[in-house]
């Protein structure tokens, strides 16, 4: 990115300055006093607009647009001047002032652009001319004259702000010193570009040396050195003469300058890179390279921006070189826990003991990964750049692989597991096809890569002072096993063995995700349950929670693909319960209607975003979730239409359904939601055919690998649920229903229908039984007669009455109300003698005698001593009463057969519970 900018920026600057050159030449040559000022400025502006044309290539569109607008206005002004129309001139002037604001905002500069200044100068001159020409003034129409006067005042006021700049400008076009002018122009254009927010990172460096082009380091390095650089180079002109001390001294000096004001970041990288080439011992080289890498990380100071890609690549190369050296000299140990001896790195080639170097490979790797991740977050996923950037993934994988191998060799397994996790996190979300593509890509690029390296080698050779030549020991190409599962297994088992808690949890989640991706539902479910992550994930950091959500979403999709509707719903319902799916999966910022996020929150959220290529398709996810909810909820809804308190399986779905039912007219389905709602309407009527067709018409199915089998599964499920719904809805209208009829109606096999209906009978959802000889279902009469219903109501009221009586008595005399302790204190003397004391003393012991007669199983109701029951759980009584209220009468309500999927998943309890 920087390189692109710099090369272009640079050339642009030259071009521009050359423009000015010629322009100024023109000016001096044709500085004819007879020429009208207007004409003169006309040429100036003409050249200026040309200028802006060239600029168009670099400047971003918003900025470009503003500039253009401004130029148009300037043109208008010129036209107005020609015809001496002060009214329109005044309008244009107001306009240009407004535009100026915009331009300044776009460019984030506090300096007015030259175009504007020129316009001001031009206006001033013209105004002066007009004022001087009294005759003309007299001839003017009254409105024109008025405009002229107001213009004069406005301009005066306005120009005060820009006095300095205007003066400068006035000086320069007239002065003969072109060089100065050029410089200033250059500065100006530079400034305007630097202020562009996307290129902020270079601005700091600007102050130090404008000419220092960091990217063409080989060729431009010597030429464009600052004073210090020059010094450095001079020091090492004769590389043979350089000693370790000398190098070390310079090294220390440069490192000390790090972070200090006025230290150019690029410059520092350059200096260190140069030093690394002249390093005398391998240890020193490693040490310096570490600093180079650190300095490279420093290049981008902000948290939100990412490291320039070219720097990133160089950083990876540096890391590889470090690894080369470390492999070559196994006696060099890298450690960040001990502060090494000052002159540790002096020990040369012949030294065989261990040399300790301060540094942390894992931290570097992680930082490199983070920068990679960040760059993917920032780059627009629809551009070519993104794809290019994705290819660099292979580069990182090589590095990570090498570091991991190295760490394993040195026996630092916990660090190796951290690196392994980084690799896992790059692989886990890739389906086999994508994985294959990546593998092929790396294999193909072998040739290209080699060329690249060859071209690199001579470069290094050209650098005169390569002392420690490092052969490329570590492989520069990643090796991938055929199957991504194999790779995952290898990495994950390493992590499980050696990783710390967080690493293990993350690896586990990736593992679950990966298994789910490969349609191994039971394996990934078992992993999830055995790891107990569901319970612990709330305590983990947000990024892990996001990973957990992603894993759950993928698990849900997996369950759907293999046809486990209830499980699927269990996995997804929680994600959709709050309506914040985007936020939960970190796939885009969701706008909440009710509370605004602060800037800080939003920035944090932006930093958590998943890169685009890792997205789980939200449309598919929503479709899957809603379809599952539909399949579960519709029969449930129909079965319990009369029961007010019936359990709702998916609140989200019910809400949506309610909304859609409220509509007066329902149009053709457009989005996923509409489709599912339309299907629901069909399903409620038992019309499985159209329900399936509506679902089938969704676009998202094309994202599924095994689309046909999934749709087939869906069709079967819809048929079954349609049958159930039909039976629930219309059972009261039938006395008997033949099996053949049902099979025909729902296009199911006899066995299926039989099994389904039997299941409903056993679960007491359907009050019916089979008549085997005639192969039909006989429905029972379960409705109560009016009298019976009334009797039930009556008993219900009676028991409520008793309940409230009990509660009233409790509150009065023996219960656990708040006033009681006070009363007790009053009565303390004799309380011991009476029954009340006994009750109090033992109030805490629960007297749990379930009553046989009533089905509530309420806890024993204690009377005083007189009742013979001795002690009653004072406060327990209240609670029992409440429980009774809830459960008392629902015993005859048919049990809801569908189990809550999630509840079930959790209650499987298959974990290693010891």
């Amino acid at each position: 990115m920087a390189s692109k900018f710099w090369t272009q920026g640079g050339s642009d600057t030259e071009e521009e300055s050359s423009d000015y050159d010629s322009e100024n030449d023109d000016l001096t040559q044709t500085d004819d006093p007879a020429q009208t000022a207007g004409n003169r400025y006309l040429t100036v502006n003409a050249s200026d607009s040309d200028d802006s044309d060239t600029q168009k290539r670099v400047v971003r569109s918003a900025k470009d647009k503003r500039f253009e607008e401004m130029l148009v206005t300037v043109d208008q002004m010129k036209n107005a001047m020609k015809i001496n129309d002060w009214v329109s001139l005044q309008e244009s002037f107001d306009k240009i002032n407004k535009q100026l604001e915009k331009v300044m905002r776009v460019m984030e500069s506090d300096k007015a652009p030259t175009v504007y200044i020129k316009a001001l100068v031009m206006l001033e001159d013209f105004l002066a001319e007009a004022m001087a020409n009294k005759d003309a003034k007299k001839k003017m129409s009254s409105s024109n004259a008025k405009a002229l006067n107001s213009m004069k005042q406005k301009l005066k006021k306005n120009n005060k702000q820009y006095e300095e700049v205007i003066n400068k400008y006035r000086e320069h076009p007239e002065s003969e010193e072109e060089a100065e002018d050029e410089e200033e122009e250059e500065e100006e254009t530079d400034d305007s570009e630097i202020e562009d927010p996307t290129k902020l990172d270079i601005s700091d460096q600007e102050g130090v040396s404008e000419a220092d082009e960091p990217d063409d380091q080989e060729s431009g390095w010597m030429r464009q050195m600052t004073k210090k650089d020059n010094l450095l180079a001079k020091q090492f002109r004769d590389p043979k003469a350089a000693t370790w001390e000398k190098v070390n001294k310079w090294f220390k000096e440069i490192v000390a300058a790090r972070g200090r004001k006025g230290t150019g970041r690029y410059e520092q990288v350059e200096q260190l890179a140069f030093l690394s080439q002249v390093a005398k011992t391998p240890a020193q080289k490693v040490e310096i390279l570490f600093s180079v890498i650190s300095a490279q990380f420093d290049v981008n100071p902000g948290l939100s921006g990412h490291m320039p890609v070219s720097v990133w690549k160089k950083c990876v190369q540096n890391m590889l070189v470090v690894l080369d050296i470390l492999m070559q000299y196994p006696n060099i140990l890298v450690n960040d826990s001990v502060e090494p001896d000052e002159n540790e790195s002096e020990k040369g080639l012949e030294y065989t003991g261990t040399i300790r170097i301060w540094g942390n490979l894992v931290a570097f790797i992680e930082r490199v990964d983070i920068e990679f991740f960040k760059s993917l977050q920032c780059i627009d996923p629809h551009t070519r750049e993104y794809v290019e950037r994705l290819r660099d993934e292979a580069l990182f994988l090589v590095l990570a692989q090498n570091v991991q191998d190295y760490l394993e060799q040195t026996g630092d397994f916990s660090a190796a597991s951290k690196v392994a996790l980084r690799r896992v996190e790059l692989i886990y979300y890739k389906p086999q096809e994508v994985y294959d593509a990546m593998r092929k890509f790396t294999e193909q690029s072998e040739d290209n890569g080699e060329e690249g390296e060859e071209s690199k080698v001579p470069e290094e050779g050209r650098a005169p002072t390569m002392f420690i030549v490092t052969p490329e020991l570590v492989p520069r190409r990643p090796t991938f096993p055929e199957n991504s599962r194999t790779l995952m297994d290898r990495l994950v088992s390493l992590i499980y063995k050696h990783g710390d808690e967080r690493t293990k949890a993350r690896a586990m989640l990736c593992d679950i995700y990966h298994h789910a991706l490969f349609d191994e539902f039971s394996t990934s479910r078992d992993l999830l349950l055995m790891s107990h992550l569901q319970e612990n994930v709330q305590l983990m950091d947000i990024s892990t929670q996001i990973l957990f959500n992603r894993a759950m979403a993928q698990l849900g999709l997996c369950a759907f693909r293999v046809g486990l509707i209830a499980e699927c719903h269990g996995c997804l319902s929680e994600l959709y319960s709050g309506g914040r799916v985007k936020e939960l999966l970190a796939q885009g910022i969701s706008q909440s209607r009710y509370h605004e996020k602060t800037l800080e929150q939003e920035r944090l959220e932006r930093r958590r975003q998943m890169p685009y290529h890792m997205y789980i398709n939200l449309e598919l996810l929503e479709a899957v979730h809603l379809i599952c909810a539909m399949l579960l909820e519709v029969p449930n809804m129909v079965a319990n239409t009369n029961d007010v308190k019936h359990k709702i399986i998916s609140k989200n779905f019910c809400r949506l359904l309610e909304i859609s039912e409220r509509q007066t007219f329902t149009g053709l389905p457009e989005n996923v939601r509409d489709h599912v709602m339309a299907a629901t309407r069909a399903l409620t009527k038992g019309d499985h055919e159209s329900a399936f067709n509506i679902i089938k018409s969704l676009d998202t199915w094309k994202l599924l690998k095994n689309k046909d089998s999934v749709l087939e599964m869906l069709r079967a499920n819809i048929k079954e649920e349609a049958l159930r719904t039909y039976l629930f809805t219309y059972s009261s209208s039938y006395d008997s229903l033949s099996l053949d009829e049902l099979t025909k109606m729902f296009d199911l096999s006899e066995v299926q229908v039989h099994s389904l209906v039997s299941k409903m009978m056993v679960n007491e959802e359907l009050h019916a039984s089979w008549d085997q000889p005639t192969r039909s279902i006989i429905f029972h009469e379960v409705e109560h007669t009016r009298l019976q219903a009334l009797a039930f109501q009556f008993t219900e009221k009676l028991s409520i009455l008793t309940d409230s009586n009990e509660r009233a008595i409790e509150a009065r005399i023996g219960g656990g109300g708040l006033e009681l302790p006070m009363r007790r204190r009053e009565n303390q003397d004799y309380a011991g003698a009476t029954g009340g004391a006994g009750r109090w003393a033992e109030g805490g012991t629960a007297f749990n005698q379930g009553r046989q007669g009533t089905s509530e199983g309420r806890s024993g109701y204690g009377g005083g001593r007189a009742s013979g029951m001795g002690q009653g759980g004072g406060y327990l009584r209240d609670r029992a009463g409440q429980a009774r209220g809830a459960g008392g009468y629902s015993s005859q309500v048919s049990r809801v057969s569908h189990m809550d999927g999630l509840g079930r998943m959790i209650s499987l309890n298959r974990g290693v519970r010891v």
């Binding site: 039971s522 078992d526 055995m530 066995v751 039989h754 099994s755 039997s758 299941k759 009978m761 056993v762 009050h767 039984s769 089979w770 008549d771 085997q772 000889p773 005639t774 006989i778 029972h780 379960v782 109560h784 019976q788 009797a791 039930f792 008993t795 219900e796 009676l798 028991s799 008793t802 009586n805 009990e806 008595i809 009065r812 005399i813 023996g814 009565n827 004799y830 009476t834 029954g835 009340g836 009553r851 007669g853 009533t854 089905s855 109701y861 009377g863 005083g864 001593r865 007189a866 009742s867 029951m869 005859q892 499987l908 309890n909 298959r910 974990g911 290693v912 519970r913 010891v914």
Partner: protein
């Protein structure tokens, strides 16, 4: 049938010696060629000290009288080692054989050790030797001796690890001697230790549990009460988890136990759920049978599975134990299983039907018409079934057993009067206390 043979899955969780009964059974059932079994027996024996036995098998396998040299050498080696160990343990053995002396031992271990040390010069070395000796005895196939020594060793030993392995040894010895009652006691002792002990890693504990469960199969299917006990043991949370995670094949035995055991209905429902959960990882005719009856209500399938189950039971070393009676041999468990399975099918079938054709029913139950009729009549008479036979149309008609509305009403109001009465008495009592004040 070989795919339903669990020997390869069970054997790794057993002691070497415990595998012999399984191999014997396999030899009888003729599921595999004789030679293979004999070879595997030798393989098995090669790591034990039962060299003589190995020699015999070798002879019968290759039909020679010659024995390979290494076996002979090994025999000598074993004998020598036995001698050495015997000598080492001799003082203690002598002491233990002396009844009078043994009575001096008390419940206090430290006192015992002290006493032995003081009076008989028997120290920890000899005790250790006793353990080694017992172990060697066991490996030589002298189980009763091993069991005795291990019992005594446990009384003297202070090292809990060693004590645990002695207990395992004792259990194995008892099982091999077919002392089921003692074995069951040992089993319980071991279970307690496993459940209460702190293991280095949960994995070890699980492994121990798996072993325990596998070993217990010997006991449970040879013991009268075993079918209840196996449910008690396996159906505990910890153990069922272990089965699900690591040894799903044990579900077969648990399922069988549930089927032949009529009393465990409450746990049965949960068990059906577990089977459903595990059906992706474990399938067996017996569990599939349960799934057919209780999950899918596929009675034709259930009937087919029933036949398969019969085969499975006959070929399972634990389930298919034969009882020789005079001149006929029978497999009691099979008969019981079939009877109960039939009952299961019938029960469920009746629950969802109002009228059933007798012919179809007979077919579903694997009986002929008369048998079926007799069977049903006996059920009705035993008031296990609320139904009547309509012999004119050849059907069984179920009596509807919906709850009576009036009964429900009475049920609802039953408690009210009692509660009101208590309420009144409470008020009275309260009034009294107020009055006395």
């Amino acid at each position: 049938m070989a795919q339903y043979d669990f020997t390869p899955r069970i054997a790794p969780n057993l002691d070497r010696h415990l595998v012999f009964p399984l191999l014997e059974f396999l030899q009888d059932s003729k599921l595999y060629p004789d030679e293979e079994i004999l070879k595997s027996k030798i393989e098995l024996l090669s790591k034990t000290n039962m060299v003589d036995y190995a020699m015999d098998i070798h002879k019968s396998l290759y039909h020679t009288d010659e024995v390979p040299q290494d076996m002979v050498e090994r025999r000598a080696e074993v004998v020598a080692r036995l001698k050495a160990l015997e000598e080492a343990a001799a003082p203690l053995v002598v002491f233990l054989q002396n009844h009078n002396a043994v009575q001096e031992l008390r419940a206090d271990k430290h006192y015992n050790l002290q006493m032995l040390n003081d009076r008989y010069q028997i120290g920890s070395q000899q005790i250790e030797a006793l353990y080694q000796f017992a172990k060697f005895q066991f490996e030589c196939g002298n189980y009763s001796g091993a069991a005795d020594y291990l019992y005594q060793y446990r009384a003297l030993c202070t090292n809990s690890e060693r004590s645990l392995s002695a207990l395992w040894g004792k259990l194995a010895a008892e099982i091999l001697m077919q002392n089921w009652d003692t074995a069951f006691e040992e089993l319980n002792r071991l279970k307690e230790i496993i459940d209460s002990k702190n293991f280095a890693s949960p994995l070890n504990q699980i492994q121990s549990r798996i072993w325990l469960m596998h070993w217990s199969l010997f006991i449970f299917f040879n013991n009268d009460n075993g079918r209840t006990q196996i449910i008690d043991l396996f159906n505990q949370d910890k153990y069922i988890n272990t089965i699900q995670t690591s040894a799903p094949h044990l579900l077969r035995y648990l399922a069988t136990a549930f089927i032949v055991n009529k009393r465990r209905r409450t746990q049965f429902k949960d068990f059906i759920k577990i089977i459903q959960q595990e059906h992706h990882s474990f399938k067996d005719p017996i569990t599939e049978f349960l799934a057919c009856v209780y999950v899918n209500y596929d009675f034709d399938g259930a009937q087919k599975k029933m036949k398969e189950c019969e085969e499975v039971i006959l070929n399972d070393p634990f389930l298919g134990k034969r009882v020789e009676q005079e001149n006929s041999s029978s497999v009691p468990l099979r008969d019981e299983f079939i009877e109960n399975a039939r009952l299961f099918i019938f029960e469920t079938y009746c629950r969802i039907h109002r009228r059933i054709d007798m012919g179809v029913l007979a077919e579903k139950l694997n009986l002929n018409y008369e048998e079926a009729e007799r069977w049903i009549v006996s059920l009705i008479r035993g008031s296990k079934l609320d139904a009547k036979i309509d012999s004119e149309s050849g059907t069984v008609v179920m009596e509807p057993n919906r709850p009576d509305v009036y009964e429900q009403l009475i049920e609802h109001t039953k408690g009210l009067s009692g509660r009101t009465y208590k309420l009144v008495s409470q008020i009275m009592e309260h009034a009294q206390t107020l009055a006395t004040r």
